[in-house]
C-alpha cells in the first residue's frame, strides 16, 4: 500500500497543490490528470523522493518513507521527460548499463535482450544512441521497465511520441506489471486503455479550490 497524506508542493514560491491525498494498493493504477501546470510532474517527483513535499508525508505499508528514502528510490522506476541515453553508446550498451547499475544480474530474465524485445528495438541493438528518433529514444527509456524489476512505476506522460504499436506494447507491459502485483502512477492527457484505473484530478487540489471531496470551508 502506497499512500500520501496532506501533501502540498511549492515551486518558486508558488503553491501548486495542497491537501492532496492518495492511496494505492498492490496491482493498482492511478492516473494523474489535470491541465498544464497543475503539478502532475511535481507530484510524481515528490512520489519518487526527488522533491521534498512542503507539507505531508508518503508512506509504504504504513511506514513513513522519510525514514528510508534511499530504499524507496531504489525500488521504483521514474520515467520523466528526458530520456537518459548516451549518444556514444549503442542501444544495447545504454540499456545494459542501467541493468548493471541497478544490480540486475544477467540470469534474472534475459537482461537487455528482453527489454529491447518488449519495446521492439531488438533490431537496433548495435545502433549508436545518437541515431535514434524521438520515439525510439522514448522506447529505449521505457525498455528499463521491462527488464529491471521495481515495485512502483512513476511515469510522466509515457505515451509522448510513441506510435500506436508502441502504445499497445506499453499498455501490455503495464498490464503484466499490475498482474504481478506492481503499482503504476502515470500522468496522462486523454484516456489510455487501462481497465479499472483510478483517476486523480489535480485541479481539485489547486490552492483556493473548495470543492474537494472531504473539505469544508
Amino acid at each position: 500500500m502506497f499512500a500520501g497524506q496532506d501533501l502540498a508542493c511549492v515551486r518558486g514560491e508558488r503553491l501548486i497543490f495542497e491537501k492532496l491525498e492518495f492511496e494505492l494498493s498492490p496491482g493498482g493504477t492511478l492516473l494523474l490528470v489535470g491541465p498544464n501546470g497543475s503539478g502532475k510532474t511535481s507530484l510524481l517527483r515528490v512520489m519518487a523522493g526527488l522533491l521534498a513535499p512542503a507539507t505531508g508525508h508518503l508512506s509504504w505499508n504504513g511506514r513513513d518513507l522519510a525514514a528510508e528514502p534511499d530504499e524507496h528510490r531504489a525500488a521504483l522506476h521514474f520515467i520523466g521527460h528526458l530520456d537518459p541515453i548516451k549518444p556514444a553508446l549503442t542501444v544495447a550498451e545504454n540499456l545494459a548499463f542501467w541493468l548493471r547499475y541497478r544490480g540486475v544480474t544477467p540470469s534474472a530474465g534475459a537482461g537487455w535482450h528482453r527489454g529491447l524485445g518488449a519495446v521492439g528495438l531488438a533490431h537496433l541493438a548495435d545502433q549508436p544512441g545518437r541515431f535514434l528518433s524521438a520515439g525510439q529514444r522514448r522506447r529505449l527509456n521505457l525498455a528499463r521497465l521491462a527488464c529491471i524489476p521495481a515495485r512502483l512505476w512513476l511515469l510522466d506522460e509515457p505515451m509522448t511520441s510513441l506510435d500506436t504499436t508502441s502504445q499497445t506494447a506499453l499498455i501490455r507491459l503495464m498490464g503484466d506489471h499490475r498482474a504481478a502485483g506492481g503499482m503504476i502512477i502515470a500522468s496522462v492527457h486523454g484516456m489510455i486503455g487501462l481497465p479499472d484505473a483510478a483517476t486523480l484530478d489535480l485541479s481539485r487540489y489547486a490552492p483556493g479550490v473548495e470543492a474537494r471531496h472531504d473539505a469544508g470551508p
Partner: protein
C-alpha cells in the same frame, strides 16, 4: 560497490569514444606550458626556476577546464536523475564520478608533465617528484571540483563559475605540490610536502563526495 564500478566503466568508455574531451585537456596543458618560454624569454635558468610553478598552475587550469563536464552532460540528458534515484549511497556515486574524472584528466596530465619538464629545463632530480606530486595532488582537484560542479549545476556560464569557486580552494594543493618539487631540486626532503598533500587527499576523500551529493540533491529539486 558494484554500481560505482559500473559507472566508472561507463564514463571511461564514453571518454574513450569521445576522445576529444581528454585530448583537449592535454592540448591545453601542452600549449599553455609552451607559451611560457615565449612570454618570459628562453633563458634556461629562469625557466628551470619557475618550471615547477608553471607546470602545476597549468595542470590546475587544465583540470578546471574539464570540470563542467563532470555532471553537466548527465544532468542535461536526465541520466543524473536516474543515477541519483538508483544509487543506494549517493556519495559513492559521486566518488565514482570523481575517480573516472581523475583517470581521464589528472592521470594523463601526470603522464605528459615530464615531457614538458624537459622543455622547461627542469632538473632531472625533480622528474619523479613532479609526477608523484601530480599523482597525489590532482585527485584532490577532481574531488574539490566535484563540489563546485555540483553546486553550479544548471547555472548560466557554469564553467567559469566553477573555476571561480574552486580555484581559491586549490591553493594548498598548489603550494605543497610546487614545494615538493622545489625541495627535491634543492636537495632537501620532499617528504613533508608529500605528507601534507596526502593529508589533503585524506580529508577531501570523505568530505567532498558527501558535500557534492548534498549539492546534487539540491540541484535536482
Amino acid at each position: 560497490m558494484m554500481p560505482a564500478l559500473e559507472l566508472i566503466r561507463r564514463d571511461l568508455r564514453l571518454a574513450w569514444r569521445q576522445g576529444t574531451d581528454v585530448a583537449m585537456v592535454i592540448a591545453f596543458f601542452v600549449l599553455t606550458v609552451v607559451l611560457f618560454p615565449f612570454g618570459v624569454g628562453p633563458e634556461p635558468n629562469i625557466l628551470a626556476r619557475i618550471g615547477p610553478g608553471i607546470l602545476w598552475v597549468t595542470a590546475l587550469l587544465a583540470a578546471m577546464l574539464s570540470l563542467d563536464r563532470l555532471f553537466q552532460a548527465d544532468h542535461d540528458d536526465g541520466s543524473l536523475e536516474q543515477l541519483v534515484l538508483s544509487s543506494p549511497a549517493l556519495p559513492a556515486m559521486v566518488l565514482a564520478k570523481c575517480l573516472a574524472h581523475w583517470l581521464t584528466t589528472g592521470l594523463p596530465l601526470a603522464v605528459v608533465a615530464p615531457i614538458l619538464a624537459i622543455l622547461l629545463n627542469l632538473g632531472a632530480d625533480g622528474f619523479v617528484v613532479l609526477v608523484g606530486s601530480l599523482l597525489l595532488g590532482t585527485p584532490v582537484l577532481s574531488l574539490l571540483g566535484a563540489v563546485g560542479a555540483a553546486l553550479t549545476l544548471g547555472a548560466r556560464r557554469a564553467g567559469v563559475l566553477v573555476a571561480l569557486l574552486v580555484l581559491p580552494l586549490t591553493i594548498p594543493v598548489l603550494i605543497f605540490g610546487v614545494g615538493a618539487i622545489d625541495a627535491a631540486l634543492a636537495d632537501l626532503s620532499s617528504r613533508p610536502h608529500f605528507l601534507l598533500l596526502g593529508a589533503l587527499l585524506a580529508a577531501a576523500l570523505p568530505l567532498c563526495p558527501w558535500a557534492a551529493a548534498a549539492a546534487l540533491r539540491q540541484a535536482l529539486e
